[in-house]
C-alpha cells in the first residue's frame, strides 16, 4: 500500500518519505524472517542513506513532478506482455520452501555444515561474503568506489550561470 502511494503521489518530498517508510517495513519483514544481515542493510541503506541522498537531490530539482498528458499505450502493452510472461514462467518454479529445491542442493549445505569448521565464526553470511565469495565482494567494493568517482566527475564541475527567462507579465 505504501508502495502504491509512492507511485501515485506527485509531490517528490512526500514520495521520498513514503519510500523510507516502505524500506523500513521491508527491513522489519526481513528481521521477522531471521535475515538479520539483510534487515540491517535495508534499514541502514534503504531507509537511511538512500533517503538522505534523495533529499539531497531534491534540494537540486523542483519539488513537484511535471504531469504528462495522455497515456503511452505501447508501453502499457509491453508491460502487460512482460508481466504475463513472468507469471506464466512462475508456474514452472519449484514449490516454495521445499527441501529438495535446487537452491538447497547446490553449495548451500556445504556453507551451512562447514563454515564453523573452516572459519570458527558463527555468522555464515560474513563467511560467505568475505571468504568463500571474496572476489565478488572485492568487485562490489570496486563498484562502490567507481560510483563515488562517477558522482565526483559529474558534480565537481561548477554549474554555469544560465540566462534566466524573465517572468512574463
Amino acid at each position: 500500500m505504501v508502495g502504491l502511494a509512492v507511485v501515485f503521489t506527485r509531490d517528490l518530498l512526500k514520495a521520498t518519505m513514503l519510500f523510507a517508510i516502505y524500506s523500513l517495513t521491508i527491513a522489519a519483514l526481513f528481521a521477522l524472517l531471521d535475515a538479520g544481515d539483510v534487515a540491517l542493510t535495508e534499514a541502514a541503506v534503504g531507509a537511511g542513506i538512500s533517503t538522505v541522498l534523495i533529499l539531497a537531490v531534491l534540494a537540486l530539482v523542483p519539488r513537484h513532478e511535471k504531469t504528462a498528458k495522455g497515456h503511452n499505450l505501447p508501453a502499457l502493452a509491453i508491460v502487460i506482455i512482460t508481466g504475463a510472461a513472468l507469471v506464466y514462467a512462475s508456474f514452472d518454479l519449484p514449490v516454495f520452501g521445499e527441501a529438495g529445491n535446487p537452491v538447497h542442493q547446490h553449495v548451500g549445505p556445504y556453507y551451512i555444515g562447514e563454515t564453523y569448521a573452516d572459519m570458527g565464526i558463527p555468522n555464515m553470511v560474513a563467511a560467505v561474503l568475505a571468504s568463500y565469495r571474496s572476489i565478488d565482494t572485492f568487485g562490489e567494493a570496486v563498484v562502490i568506489l567507481t560510483a563515488g568517482i562517477g558522482v565526483y566527475a559529474l558534480l565537481s564541475v561548477r554549474p554555469r550561470r544560465r540566462q534566466r527567462r524573465e517572468p512574463e507579465q
Binding site: 534540494a59 519539488r63 558534480l155
Partner: protein
C-alpha cells in the same frame, strides 16, 4: 541548524552512539549480523547528521576532503592488498589460509581486514556523495539557479 537546542542535544547524544554502533557492526560482524557495508553506511550517517547540524564546513574540518578521497581508494587497495598477500605467502588470490599458522585464525583475520577495507570505502564514498550534492546546492543557489524559485515562476 546550530540554534535549535533540541536538535543539537539529541544529535550530540546520538552521534557517538551511532559511531560506536558502526564500529560494533564492523568488528563484530563475524558473530552477529553486520559487516563492512552496513558499518560504513552507519559511520557515514553519523557524519551526515553532524553536517546537518553544524554545516559542511565544520564537518570537513573534522575529516578533510582529501582524506575522504584517499580513504575511499585506500579501502579498496587494502582489500586488494590482503588478496595479494595471500599470493605472496604461497596461496591463491584472496586465499586467507597462508596469512597465519592456524587456518581458522587466518580466515578470521582475513575476513576482518577485508571487511574493514569495505567499510572504509563505503563510508568515504557515501560521504563523497553527500558532500557533492550539498555543495552543488550551495553553488546552484550562488549562480542564481534556485529550482524552487523556477517552479514558482512556472506556475
Amino acid at each position: 541548524m546550530k540554534d535549535n537546542a533540541i536538535l543539537v542535544v539529541v544529535a550530540r547524544f546520538l552521534i557517538p552512539l551511532m559511531m560506536l554502533f558502526g564500529l560494533y557492526v564492523q568488528f563484530h560482524g563475524e558473530y552477529s549480523p553486520g559487516g563492512g557495508f552496513q558499518a560504513g553506511v552507519l559511520f557515514a550517517a553519523a557524519w551526515i547528521l553532524f553536517v546537518f547540524i553544524y554545516g559542511l564546513e565544520t564537518g570537513l574540518r573534522i575529516i578533510p576532503e582529501r582524506v575522504i578521497y584517499a580513504l575511499a581508494a585506500l579501502g579498496v587497495l587494502l582489500y586488494g592488498f590482503i588478496g595479494l598477500l595471500g599470493v605472496l605467502l604461497g596461496g591463491r588470490y584472496l586465499d586467507f589460509d597462508p596469512l597465519l599458522a592456524s587456518p581458522q585464525a587466518a580466515q578470521q583475520a582475513g575476513i576482518i581486514l577485508v571487511e574493514f577495507g569495505v567499510g572504509v570505502t563505503v563510508a568515504s564514498v557515501v560521504m563523497v556523495f553527500f558532500m557533492m550534492f550539498a555543495r552543488r546546492r550551495a553553488e546552484s543557489l550562488e549562480a542564481g539557479l534556485d529550482p524552487d524559485a523556477d517552479e514558482d515562476i512556472g506556475q
